[in-house]
Symmetry: C2
Subunit: 182 residues, 2 copies
DNA sequence: AGCGATCTGTAGCGCTCGCTACAAGCCTGC
DNA sequence: GCAGGCTTGTAGCGAGCGCTACAGATCGCT
């Protein structure tokens, strides 16, 4: 195809696209290279190690996540903490988010092995999401910092329940939260 | 060692112990066999397939989980929905639960690939936990079914945040929930 | 005792994994 | 123009993977 020189920067988006389609845990060098139009040999050349490649990939995915929050999510504030959680839950139910969540649970599983790159990526994404929630709580929330943490906790729980096929529990759980700030 | 005959039933606990120490995603036949004092050859003989072995393992782990709820967790009811969630969070913080959670996040990640065995195991564990929460809400909770779903959602969210190194968010989030039933 | 079914060890198949050795291209600076 | 670096292709290494073929060993049964 394009005979242009390759670099980490040009490769990472192509690799990320493949990972979003096929999962992170199952990603190995040869299929990744094929998806990026190169060879495993060159991936090692550019990144040095598969671990370094995955670390670059995680950083890129965290950036993608932050960008997605600014585009796919509404700009206005919610009417209540509960409504804020339900909004995020409903939006992330859209099918275009499924690939991202598949990777997300691979990241969470990777964190359980105390892998620094995974922990960094996950922590970064949670920080971004927490800041977003703070900005989208009702303007009259008495304690946005605490409220955002409560909302983020229920959001993540709901998404885990949905991931394991218990979306009904998640929806009922969200609906049963307090409607107004405590 | 003991030259006694082996069977699925006698093997599964030994295999489960190895998986709890080393994770589920990384488990392969030869190390599993070594941990159980046999050979990969015999594991395939008894289970037919690695997938079938994993399915049996997941079923066993789900049973272990149900049993653990009855022993490690308090018998009395909580004073509030929030207290119930905080109790479960505090107990599962004990180090002896770490191996179980490592496997748990592997299961969640496996569910994202629509693997039936993983979905069954995860759904079973959530059902057991949900029933436990129903029984441990305050006796005067106005809607135990809905309340238990809300509590379960925040518990799972808190545990995910803890898994990715954001335990501080989880604890603040739990503390900011409503103290009494909505 | 002897036969058939049930178990188990040895060896190895074909495959993929991350990674490397070696050599050839290519592009830049003198 | 040509020397020396940066980039790339080919081929393969050693290891581990799930799984199987084959041959004994062992057991229950008549």
């Amino acid at each position: 195809m394009a005979p242009t020189r390759m670099s980490r920067e040009s490769l990472v988006p192509l690799l990320a696209a493949h990972v979003l389609q096929n999962g992170l845990a199952a990603a190995s060098l040869r299929p990744l290279a094929k998806a990026a139009g190169t060879s495993d040999r060159m991936l090692i050349y550019h990144f040095g190690t598969k671990d370094a490649l995955v670390a670059a990939l995680l950083e890129y995915l965290a950036g993608m996540f932050a960008a997605a929050l600014d585009t796919a999510f509404p700009k206005d504030r919610s009417a209540s903490r509960r409504a804020c959680a339900q909004t995020v839950y409903a939006i992330t139910e859209e099918p275009q988010f499924a690939p991202f969540f598949r990777v997300w649970w691979d990241i969470v599983a990777g964190c359980s092995d105390d892998n620094a790159a995974y922990l960094d990526a996950a922590g970064g994404m949670m920080d971004v999401l927490l800041a977003w929630v703070v900005d989208h709580l009702p303007a009259d929330d008495p304690d946005p910092q605490a409220g955002a943490r409560a909302v983020l906790t229920v959001i993540e729980g709901a998404q885990m329940l949905r991931a394991v096929g218990c979306g009904d529990i998640a929806e009922a759980g969200l609906a049963a939260l307090e409607g107004r700030p405590a």
